[in-house]
Symmetry: C2
Subunit: 528 residues, 2 copies
Amino acid sequence: MITGKNYIGKNLSAVGRKTYRTFNPQLNIENDFVFTEATNEEIESAVALASEAFKVYRTISGAEKANFLNAIADEIVALDNELLTVYCSESGLPRGRAEGEMGRTIGQLRAFAQLLLEGSWVEATIDTAQPNRMPAPKPDLRKMLIPIGPVVVFGASNFPLAYSTAGGDTASALAAGCPVIVKSHPMHSGTGELVASAVIKAVQKTGMPNGVFSNLNSTGIEVGQHLVKHPGVKAVGFTGSIAGGKALFDLAAKRLEPIPVFAEMGSINPVVILPGALQNSYADLAKTYAVSITLGTGQFCTNPGLLLGIKGEDLTTFVRHLSNEILKIDASCMLHPNIARVYEANKQKAIVQQGVTVVADADVDVKPNFARQAVATVEGTVFLENPTLHQEVFGPYSLVVQCENIKQLEQIISALEGQLTGTLIAADEEANKYPEIILALQNRVGRLIFNGVPTGVEVCPSMTHGGPYPASTDSRFTAVGTNSIKRWVRPFSYQDWPDALLPDALKNENPLGISRMVNNKPTISKIV
Amino acid sequence: MITGKNYIGKNLSAVGRKTYRTFNPQLNIENDFVFTEATNEEIESAVALASEAFKVYRTISGAEKANFLNAIADEIVALDNELLTVYCSESGLPRGRAEGEMGRTIGQLRAFAQLLLEGSWVEATIDTAQPNRMPAPKPDLRKMLIPIGPVVVFGASNFPLAYSTAGGDTASALAAGCPVIVKSHPMHSGTGELVASAVIKAVQKTGMPNGVFSNLNSTGIEVGQHLVKHPGVKAVGFTGSIAGGKALFDLAAKRLEPIPVFAEMGSINPVVILPGALQNSYADLAKTYAVSITLGTGQFCTNPGLLLGIKGEDLTTFVRHLSNEILKIDASCMLHPNIARVYEANKQKAIVQQGVTVVADADVDVKPNFARQAVATVEGTVFLENPTLHQEVFGPYSLVVQCENIKQLEQIISALEGQLTGTLIAADEEANKYPEIILALQNRVGRLIFNGVPTGVEVCPSMTHGGPYPASTDSRFTAVGTNSIKRWVRPFSYQDWPDALLPDALKNENPLGISRMVNNKPTISKIV
């Protein structure tokens, strides 16, 4: 049941006066639930509880944390239809998507539980003592990763489950041993509260310390700012716009004690179409990309917003096919009236730029909050000179750039801001001929895709979801996959520490049976 | 031979008009060499060359980079007496220290070469395709660490070799595949130029791209600021003061494209002396700590500047012994007149604080630039209330805090800023009794030492030299040891990429024979 209250640890609380509702974009009406924004006192309580909880939670075993994460997954599964219904009512997304995203959320939680049960993720590294080394004895040194402290998570509008309340950021931080305070997304606070109730149930069932998780409602920016500035908060995870992410990054850098902010922000995900690829497969490619551009109403951070090809008859044919294919696809609902409004405004801004030609614009009457998909095209020289065309249009829109030649293509790639992904479309053996294109693209992105689409972000250890700024605020980390846990941990060394007082991961006996680097060799053996 | 010029890639250049000299603190006179500060044009050239060099250098094999690093080590060895003499003349440090630091510098370069030759450091992670997975096929995904781009290194005044021109930051960045531009330290620009000449010789002998290394002279802050703001620079390594590190961190955060700054800054390295430890071994402990406090004239970032004990007769006896022991040690020379001046000023500021009692002050005539070592003491309550006493006094000074009880000791530990190290001095089995003290200390530091001294930073994989702010600007990394390479790399994924176009680390055949995670299992096997 949705109460509209905040979870300050396990306690429901709503002492504030500011309230708000979420919106059903399909029906174009407000939802019934009324949410109460967290007050300063509630924020202070949540952070104080998180700091206290950290003292206990950071010493809890991997097995216990795994049990907790699996319990969260179980409780989310138990929410079943209630959760899926609220999800749809607050996002306008179809039931199938809700089910898929719920599966992804549960899968992520269980993947982190598995990581914890296996245990080697702490990178235990041991160099044993050499008491007789000259000129000075070598001490015994043992290192492992330990949690950084309470983390604040800002969920994404476009992933109400998988990148929000108990999504990737929360799951990775809890796995790391960090308490989490979620700044609930105002567009899906009902979904958020239900998931938060699942987390709290799991906290209680598995005996985790109160305060290891809190969920705070807010509709403006104040709650988030207060949290990011709070000395008790030690790191921030964010998924959303460049403006939002950069604002939090700046706030965190200005603190007396600056803290890391991992923000996954915008991306236009350039797709490079080499000339040979168009000769035979333009029709299939057009179909595939019409689907990718409109998938989830274009509301994916990996949406292909920029297609780069070499000017010529083949590219013209491809653009014609892409336009036809994209117009065959039914318009669909966006997440919120504000998002639909901003999409239309940004699309308009992009297509009225000098030299831009609209080749497909679903200029039909659509239901309120539904997006009209569009494709435009522009010459390479014009694109290079107009930074407005490099900006993301969040929604089902893509721009085809017709480059003069390969050299200009490389120039354009190098002129792009940092991106989450880059895609190369090439005929057999064709890619071998353009190493400079591949290197230029690699320099601008976090993930390269060959003859595929950038949409669809696999959750697995080998995924990088991140990239050079502004794709993310720190390209040295990923937001997706089990390695995302690295954002919330720091290396820690014990020198000549008594074996009995070492954490299990570093004890001579290796009681956890994990893989460790001992004197520069990986091993699961005990130290004798 | 020292020319006083800048290395812009392989070219010696001195087009500027601003010149400066280094200083011999032992003789209290300026050295003969005249250095010309780099101009804006020279800075621009160095960055442009580094960006060009990166295009080639980032694709070079681990074996070639190892060859390069070993060649740098060889060329530094060849400098031999010339380098050691200049080192001493610019630092006031004794010959034995120069030799030790040269050994450390060479050892670091060779350790990174070894890391590259072994090759597994790139964390190759592969999840193979599952074309028949339902509801959607799983693509082939392969991830590894790749270099982030040109890195600017600011050397440390107190480590003219091991943490300067070709020290830990430079060695780790070059190992990662990043070109390096060194902002030479104005106190040891001669040492810097000699080492730079060794690097340039190695560049040429091993056929590395020109611009992979530059060395820029400067005596003010302008050259460093220009470099950190330059769009071509992608990361910064710094060792020095909190004010200096924070200024660079702020500059980097304000860029249009913010970049990571890893700054290793101040630390007072708290030493917690549990009551039992004083009952028998106070005399030995006093001797050991008198040496540690004065080692290198107290000019180590791991200098024990704060000793925390429980008030009582035992602590009083220890303080008396420590005072006696420290006064037996001869005064020694500081790195530079400015550093000697700041030491005296900071020491004075600390000891005139209300409630502080000086128990040892080598109040003798010392030669110019020599430091008078000192120990002071204060009550726990006074220390808690006066943040001035929490600040580092860079030099041979330490403050003994007499805590009321264990509870106050824990309070004091928790009130400290982030530190590089924390040390626990305890009698047999005594440490078991104070888990809350150990946890509080762990929360504030990067390395815990048991019954030892914090000075002496072993270079090995299990070392953490870093810690919560302001010990470093990002506690998630270490500045010492081969893991320091992680500061300059980012994860990168290839999706469905043709095997022939993958880097060797990710090819099916595993031609490098490295350890990889394949479908969640570590293996050196090929993929069939």
